[in-house]
């Protein structure tokens, strides 16, 4: 076992642990933070596969942006997580049984000698330091893979349309601001000078006092 394999297993163990904790942690904030850890170790694994660009994007986009948003949402929404967990322990034995069965079946297949006997036979090429990940990715995306790339953009468009269609609702009781109207307002639209009766009485009283003072 060389150093690289050792590092791989190190990160893989952390990744599996973090992923398991995402599901089992009681506190949702802890789950979100464990998800951050899972993303981070996955990025480390990608770096070992020489996919540096993807690893950096994973950290920047998922850890940096998406997960922070996610944490905000978790903190802002007042969800009772105990009701969400209802039935978790009741269903656990059955779920465990299925999971163990599946894992055992997969282990039998993967551990068999035949599984490793014939892959495609091509081991990955190890590139030198001058090899640019971004350049290769860009070249492929805009030439060979241009069709799936375009479809991906359409999928994003659908996501926007769907999100707006599901959340944008004009409610009658909500007050909206019209900034153009706010800017174009004049003093006379808003301000009205009202003669106040109490004020007049006070002035008369004041004047009367002054007059008596003068007379005396």
């Amino acid at each position: 076992m060389n150093a690289q394999t050792l590092i791989f297993y190190f990160f893989a163990t952390i990744l599996l642990f973090a992923a398991a904790r995402v599901v089992t942690a009681r506190n949702p904030v802890h789950s979100a933070l464990f998800l951050v850890l899972a993303f981070f170790t996955a990025a480390a694994l990608w770096i070992m596969l020489q996919a540096e660009f993807l690893a950096i994007v994973l950290v920047l986009v998922y850890v940096g942006a998406v997960m922070v948003l996610f944490l905000f949402v978790v903190m802002m929404l007042d969800i009772n997580y105990d009701t969400l967990r209802e039935g978790f322990w009741d269903n656990l034995p059955f779920a465990l049984l299925v999971a163990v069965l599946m894992a055992a079946e997969m282990a039998v297949v993967v551990a068999g000698r035949n599984f490793w006997a014939n892959g495609s036979g091509v081991s990955p090429v190890i590139h030198g330091p001058e090899y640019s990940n971004i350049k290769e990715l860009g070249r492929l995306i805009y030439t060979e893979y241009v069709y799936p790339f375009e479809i991906a953009s359409v999928i994003l468009l659908v996501a926007i349309v769907a999100a707006i269609a599901l959340t944008l609702r004009r409610r009658k009781d909500t007050k909206y601001q019209d900034s153009a109207q706010q800017i174009a307002v004049r003093r006379n639209d808003r301000l009205r000078i009202i003669p106040v009766a109490a004020d007049n009485k006070l002035r008369q009283k004041h004047e009367a006092v002054e007059q008596t003072e003068k007379q005396s």
Binding site: S120, E144, Y147, I151, L157, A162, L166
Partner: protein, 482 residues
């Protein structure tokens, strides 16, 4: 390096639909609720235009473009045409229903067209990645359409279930595809097929991946044991959306199986045949038996869908060209019947009333003999009773399976379809021999009345003369799946 410009004319229908959806999204912004019919008209024009382009660019030999990721062959042209027709009919049926329920919005039509685009991408895919992207495009649009009725708790729940299970299925599918990629070193369907054919000896990795791919496919088709989402989604979604999900996407699902299993993994036919046998048997059994216990017609039709998908697999598992073309015939006929069946459910519904329960169909013959007759035709066809077309659809897949030597499977299929006939015939009994529960007259809009009559008569006419459609299926399969 040099890169040849892809031949865009082959993908012209897709490009046209995409441009038109974008146009519709923008035009819809400037329309008031009163003028919303413009969106509807533009959508129908898009379907018509796409059909015209598909027909006029048809060629008998398969042509490839976009680095062999896109294929334009006879099968893709026929399936695309049928998808346009299905979506167009669905929109005509849905128009009154959705406008009475506040869903007559631009997004409904835009999402429907996006879903159609996803189907077209799947139908023309020649690459695992493209297949997956098309599937996601279709699924995302469908999730949103199910949830479009925001105030209905049932619809929201259905959308959540659909979304979570759909994501799980996508995960299974991707995992399987990654295994296949590891074993063959390619994602291109033709290359995968060549590599598999040249592999000698053991292919454990391939089989390992295949299991996950078939599980993912089964989820999307909705066959047992991956059928749990179908009844809930069919019942919970607004009927217009249920109608949509039950129609054109099934054609795309057929294309998905044909491209992936038949074109890509034909070399592993021995392996996937066995899995399909189990799934087909269970689907026909559970679908038909559970449907008997339903009182909600949408739920009943959902279970009937599961059993029909089991029959669809019968053609595939025979592993012959004849079998594939009978499966194609089956899926087209199924779409024709299910569009009619759900169309009738919407025809019976009106403002503030959903004709969801079987009892709502009581005494339909007294309220409107013509529509009762139409429903009778759809139910006969679904049960597979001659002279409707459903009979020939069942007959051809059974023949294909019989030729492949699955005698016990064919016998049990016939038994289950006899059991299934019970719940179809029960609706006919309710319509003709029971007294109506409410006497509200049924007055559909003119275009819907005409179309549903055409739909019903088509079921009958194709049952008397099934040959042209069968020949079309055989032609497109023989030209495409070599």
């Amino acid at each position: 390096m040099t890169f040849p410009m892809p031949n865009l004319t082959l993908a012209l229908p897709e490009i046209f639909v995409l441009v038109m959806v974008s146009l519709i999204l923008i035009v819809d912004l400037f329309l008031s609720a009163k003028n919303r019919f413009v969106t509807y008209a533009l959508t129908q024009i898009t379907l018509l235009g796409a059909a015209w382009i598909t027909v006029s660019t048809h060629s008998a030999v398969p042509q490839y473009t976009f680095s062999n990721m896109f294929v334009d062959d006879a099968m893709s042209d026929v399936l695309k045409l049928m998808s346009y027709v299905a979506v167009s009919v669905v929109l005509v049926y849905s128009r009154t229903y959705i406008s009475l329920r506040g869903m007559f919005r631009g997004e409904f039509f835009a999402l429907a067209l996006f879903a159609l685009l996803g189907m077209m991408v799947m139908i023309s895919a020649n690459h695992f990645l493209v297949l997956y992207m098309g599937l996601e495009l279709l699924s995302l649009s469908l999730y949103a359409m199910v949830a479009l009725q925001r105030d209905s708790a049932l619809a929201t729940e259905a959308a959540m279930k659909y979304f979570v299970l759909g994501a799980l299925a996508s995960g299974l599918l991707l995992y399987g595809m990654s295994m296949l990629y590891g074993a063959t070193g390619s994602l291109n369907i033709n290359q995968v097929a060549t590599v598999i054919q040249n592999t000698t000896g053991n292919h454990v990795v391939l089989t390992f991946g295949l299991v996950f791919v078939v599980a993912g496919l089964a989820f999307k088709l909705g066959v047992v044991p991956f059928h749990m989402w179908i009844p809930d989604v069919y019942q919970g979604a607004p009927t217009a959306v249920t109608l949509f999900i039950g129609s054109a996407p099934k054609i795309a699902a057929f294309a998905f199986v044909a491209r992936l299993l038949v074109e890509g993994l034909q070399g592993l036919v021995q392996d996937w045949q066995g899995m399909l046998v189990i799934m087909a048997f269970l689907s026909m059994a559970i679908g038909n038996i559970t449907a008997i216990a339903q009182t909600n017609i949408k739920r009943m039709l959902a279970y009937s869908t599961i059993s029909h998908m089991g029959f669809l697999l019968l053609g595939f598992l025979s592993g012959t060209l004849n079998g594939y073309s009978s499966s194609m015939f089956y899926v087209l006929v199924y779409v024709l019947m299910s569009v009619g069946g759900f169309g009738m459910v919407m025809l019976m519904s009106r403002q503030g009333f959903e004709a969801e329960n079987l009892d709502d169909f009581k005494g339909l013959n007294q309220r409107s003999p013509w529509y009762a007759f139409m429903m009778l035709l759809f139910m006969f066809s679904m049960a597979g009773i001659p002279p409707t077309v459903g009979f020939y659809a069942k007959l051809s897949v059974l023949q294909a399976a019989l030729q492949a030597g699955f005698v016990w499977l064919v016998v049990s299929a016939v038994l289950f379809s006899v059991i299934g006939a019970f719940y179809y015939l029960r609706i006919i009994k309710l319509m003709y021999f029971d007294a109506p529960q409410d006497e509200t007259p049924i007055r559909p809009e003119g275009d819907m009345a005409m179309l549903i009559s055409t739909n019903g008569l088509a079921v009958l006419a194709l049952g008397i003369l099934p040959q042209p459609l069968m020949a079309l299926c055989a032609y497109s399969i023989q030209r495409s799946l070599l």
